[in-house]
Each structure stands twice: as C-alpha cells, then as structure tokens.
Symmetry: D2
Subunit: 153 residues, 4 copies
C-alpha cells in the first residue's frame, strides 16, 4: 500500500523524529511512502523510509528537483505548486499527518474528501462545532498501524 505522510516543510527536532519514525514504520512493514518531497516532516519521513530500506516518493511543487529532500528514492516535479497537494492526497491509500500548518490542512481536507482515512499526530485540532474525522494517535508506529488498518477496510 501507499501511505501519504504530510506535515510542515520546517519542523523542530521532536516533530522531525516522529516523522522519521513514521517513515521507518511504513517501510519496515513493506509499504511505500509518498510525501510532498521538500524539507521538515517530508524530509524526515523520507529519511526514515529510506534508512529502513523502503521507497520514499516525493511529489514536488516545482518544475525541477531543486529543494527536494535528499532521502527521496523517487522525486517527481509537477510544476503545480500547491496543486501537487491533490496528488499527494490521491496517491495514498491512507494519510498520516504529523504536525502541520495550512498546506497540511489542505491535504488533510482533500484526503478526507476523497474518502481516505487520515491519522494525525500533534496535528490539526479542529475542535468547536465542526470536528474533522481524523483519528488521533500518540505514537508513530501506532499511526502507521491504524492508517493501514483503516485503508484495508
């Protein structure tokens, strides 16, 4: 299966370590990681997947591979800017969101709209009247396991 991992292009050590562990777990279980291909959460998730011997696919916003994470095993430029978020969401059988800001929120909303399960760690808290149907978990391995479970149903 393909797991989309989304999050901010700049992140602190703690979020980065969570993203890396998500990447490790996706690869360790034999699945393919897809991300937006840049820095921060994307970079660390790709690092984890590659270190664990798996595939890390980056769907890049630009027209070339400039700025791409060096951990990607496959880097695909799209020239579509934020439009590539749609492909990141579509390419996953499930999505794991680690932290994240507005770009991540757009990816979460798109994935949910497409009917795909989304699991979040330290990600958007959409309380208030309209709660988002994100499954919240605490740990990276749990995030991947839940995402795979939901995608299998």
């Amino acid at each position: 299966m393909y797991i989309s991992v989304v999050g901010n292009s700049v992140c602190g050590d703690e979020i980065g370590e969570i993203a890396r562990e998500v990447g490790v777990e996706v690869a360790r279980l034999g699945h393919i990681l897809v991300c937006g291909g840049l820095g921060g959460v994307m970079d660390q998730a790709a690092k984890g997947a590659k270190e664990a011997g798996g595939e890390a696919v980056g769907i890049l916003p630009g027209r070339d591979r400039e700025g791409a994470s060096r951990w990607l095993t496959i880097a695909i430029p799209t020239g579509m800017g934020e439009g590539r978020n749609v492909i990141v969401a579509m390419a996953g059988d499930a999505m794991v969101a680690v932290g994240g800001e507005l770009g991540t929120l757009s990816e979460i909303a798109l994935a949910l709209k497409m009917g795909k399960p989304v699991v979040g760690i330290s990600s958007w808290d959409l309380g208030g009247e309209n709660k988002l149907p994100i499954v919240r978990v605490e740990k990276p391995d749990e995030a991947v396991r839940v995402a795979l479970d939901l995608a299998s149903k």
Copy 2:
C-alpha cells in the same frame, strides 16, 4: 477584482440565500465572482451575480460542462476533480466561504496558504489549539465588503 465564493454543492434554503446575496453584492460592486461551478452554494452565488448583471465564472471539476450551474456566465471544465479547488482559490483576490464541508475546507486552507484573505459566514469553526485566520462575519454584504477591504491592503 475577483472574489472566490466557496461552499457545499448541496445546501438548504438559508445558506443558499446567503450565497445568492454574496453573489449579488460581488456583482453590484463591479467585481467578478469565481466558484467551483456546480450546485448548492456555487449555484446560488452564480445566480446572484448573474441576476445583478455581473460575471459568474465556474471552474468545473469534470471534463465537460455537465452538472454546471445554469447561472454561470463562463464555465471552464478542467478534468482535474478536486484539483480544480486550487484554481478556485488562486483565481480570487479574496475568498468568501459560505457554510461548507471538506471540499470547502481544502479551498479555505489553500487560499490562506497562498496568502489570500478568507471571510466566512456560518463556515468552519476551527476552535481548539489551531484557530484558522478566517474573518467571521454575519451578513453577505459585510462578507463581500470585508473581503474586498482585505484584498486591497
């Protein structure tokens, strides 16, 4: 200026009337309305704009004009599915969200990510830790006026 109006493709009478009044106001002030071109909020906003003698542009998800609102003065098929949400967000100098579900949330997030002001009526209540920087208003004419003000800055 161009104002993107976003919301659900199915809506009740109350939300529909708000959308229509937003469309009227955009056109009355001489601006161009852009929307996703289908039913519900999109249809009613287009109706308002057209009735007030203005332009209503629909950026359609499909490969042809099937299902397009009959009130559009310009209908552009894209064949991109939810990918057209990116264009709807990009085409506006500001966005007005009326109600809305997941597709609308993706459009709000994309517009904010692009640095565009977003004004909401009865739209996403994103309480909790991460509040979205949406300006909340009550009335259609106020929504359009605030959106235009913010876009002029």
Copy 3:
C-alpha cells in the same frame, strides 16, 4: 459555444491580424473565446473578441495575472505552467490554431486526443507519414465557421 484560440505568445503583424479577426468572428457570432491569456496570438484574439463586444477568457500559466493580455474580460491564473494548455484545450468545443510553435502543437495534440475539431491557419504542417487531422483554411472567418460547424456535429 466556446472556441479555443491558440498560437504563439510572440507574433508578427500578419499573424496578429489573423488572430484578431478570428477573435472578432468568434464574438460576432455570439460565442466565447478561450485562450492562454498572454501575448501575441492570444492577445490579439482577445482584442478582437473584446472589440466585438464578446468575452475573452484567458487561462494563465502563472500564479497571478502578471503578463496577462489587457484585452481579456476574464483572466484565470492556474499556477500550472504548460499544464494550463490542457485546460485551454478542454474548455473549447473546437480549437482554432493560428501559426504557433511547440506550445501550440501540444495544445493541438491535446485537443485532437480529446476528440475536438481543430482548424489551422498557417499552423503546423505535419506532413510525412503521420498527418495530423487538422482542417486547414486560409481566412479567419472561414476558420471560425468551420470550427463551429465541426463542433456542432
């Protein structure tokens, strides 16, 4: 109906005049012109359509309206670069190509692939083994008339 007019973003006076007359004819017959929204053939076709009181829609490659023809009545930025060529082709019920280089060839090929009729004036001569099924005409009004005829079938 919608007629896509495609051609180079830089052109000489002769080709420009043909493009302008194509735009005039599209508008005079009550149809909507769609183009790539930049200079050259696009600019002149839009000028013709607007001067004749019609609509000239530009589907722009950039993320904003910079560089857009000032004759457009509707300008839609897409942020997709050449990717917008797909929308230009899809939005027309038929295509008229005036002159043109590689970008134009991609639009012709995409329109033909989508099953849309393409009429060319001084455009790609694809002789040799694989002739393109473009209808070649000499005059702007003939181009528009033939395009509309073919689109009506």
Copy 4:
C-alpha cells in the same frame, strides 16, 4: 537521471519489444524510467525496467491504480486525465518516444517546449515546413544512450 518513455497504450509486438528494450537499457544504466503507467508501450517499457532490476514509475491519468501496468514499481494516480502528460514530460531529464499517436505527440511537444531532449524510434514523422527537433534513431539502446548524452549537456 530520469528518462520519460512515451508511446501508445496499445501496440503491436514489434513496438512493444522496442519499448521493453528501452526500459531494460534505462535500468541497466542505473537510471529511473517514468511513463504514463498504462498499457502498450508504457507497460512494456516498465516491464523491461523492472526485469532489469530498476525502477519504473507510472504517472497515471485516473484517480486510482485501476488499469495500471503490473510492472510498475511505483504508481501515482493523478486524477488529471491527459493533464498527467505534463508531469510525464516534466519528470524526465530526457524523453524517448516509441511509436505513438496524439497523446504521445502532446508529450513530445511539451517536453520540447520545456527544453528537454527528445529521441524518437518509429515515432512522429513531422516533415513538411515545421520539422520537430526530435533526434531519430533506430535501436533501443542507441535511443537511451543518445537521450542520456543530450540530457547531460
């Protein structure tokens, strides 16, 4: 490097064998093959790349992986229809066209427009006034070697 291989989704044995050999050569030299991910030339090129132990990336037109070649090592749905041709062209440092019809011609034109070298085997013969700057070769290994040479310049 990344080599885009384009051609028809249905092909005879001879063209299929050429495509397969192109795929083998791309992988044998340690490069990554990108294609449109469906049948015919795409399928056979992917088969060659995979059999030679390399990567075969498919950029799919649909919203899911239905109809994808079973030889792909990575399959990315885009939901963009022909719009994915732009990504196929953009993702390659060079393009090899094997046979091909209108979709292939659009990919060739887009790649040339983006400044990428294109090598053709039994592909578009664009004689007449406007010859396309495609390098024509006879053999699959030569096609890949020339494409890589040109991309390195």
